[in-house]
Symmetry: C2
Subunit: 201 residues, 2 copies
């Protein structure tokens, strides 16, 4: 097995275990045993336990981000609806593991919630071709979306307060409504505050 | 010192230490030493380290909730603006400690973010006299507010993208906008979905 293949195998085992438990309970010994290698050899690929945990978390974040990608070539509102729907389904399918992933580890390892939200904000700003000044709204709307997803997925199947389609629609309209709400950050196109950075206007 | 006074003293020391570090790094020995009692006596008041940590976190949550209370006798939009402003100032004044408090501990101890958001949602629903079906929107809007607070408070003083007053106004309007966005959960007044709980209509 090449170095790259071995790393990927170890991260894959780590990701599978992350479904069952928070990262701080992820045992290096178990991962090594499952890969059929020694603990020492694992440390050859990941110098410390923290390095391994950080790499598994980063891989988990990339996986969530991939899972909530819109179809390629799609943009604007349609793309954002796809992101919303896929995010809701992702949390719904793997609620415990999602919560353990983004909220279940202590601070030294983990600001994965922050990293993921930030990456998703960049994507949505990009997909909708929004001005940079709207990013705080988009970023905070993702917190809104996550909260809706976490509470909605806790409702028993078949007794949900909203069907998936309605929740997707609501969250799409919510983003559009929030983008219209003033006052917005002064990096945006308004630039009416006296303290605006750009004095050239 | 009465039992109650001693408990309060120990929680007070715990709260002060929580400003500097996440709960899992809170040392029982230090707290006992600072109170001038033995480790054994501390365990007389809090049977385990986890019990003490849980009690400190609960006290911290109550303190945040108290800090963001509106003036007594105030209700509606004015009260909500006070809650928003006090919450933004709370996070701004104690950003690190707020983050450590609500996001800085691992899962066994901590769903304080959840508890706090839930208590604040109940309060806002109550202050604005909203129908119960709007609670998911209010709850998720608090996630929006928190995200705005955390990012805004990270901006250097004097170079903020929005002055406090504008951010308070934005967040107030955001709540009102989100409450108008359809489709809402079917516990609310619409009741148009065929699967509505109440078959009497």
């Amino acid at each position: 097995m090449s170095r790259e293949e071995r790393r990927r195998q170890l991260l894959g085992i780590g990701l599978r275990k992350l479904v069952e438990r928070p990262i701080q309970d992820l045992s290096i010994d178990e991962v090594a045993a499952e890969a059929g290698i020694s603990r020492g050899l694992l440390f050859h690929y990941f110098p410390t336990k923290n390095d391994f945990h950080a790499a598994v978390l980063a891989a988990a974040g990339r996986r969530v981000l991939r899972n909530v990608s819109p179809d390629s070539g799609v943009a604007g509102r349609v793309a954002v609806r796809q992101v919303i729907e896929r995010f809701l389904l992702q949390v719904d399918r793997r609620r415990e593991s999602y919560l353990a992933l983004v909220h279940g580890h202590s601070r030294p390892v983990g600001d994965l919630a922050t990293t993921l939200r930030s990456a998703m904000a960049d994507r949505v700003v990009d997909l909708m071709d929004l001005p940079a000044g709207t990013r705080p709204v988009v970023h905070a709307w993702l917190a809104y979306l996550e909260d809706r997803a976490v509470l909605w997925s806790a409702e028993p199947q078949g007794q949900r307060s909203l069907p998936l389609g309605d929740l997707v629609e609501h969250c799409t309209l919510a983003l559009e409504a929030l983008l219209r709400v003033g006052p917005q950050a002064r990096d945006d196109a308004r630039g009416t505050q006296p303290e605006a950075h750009d004095a050239s206007g």
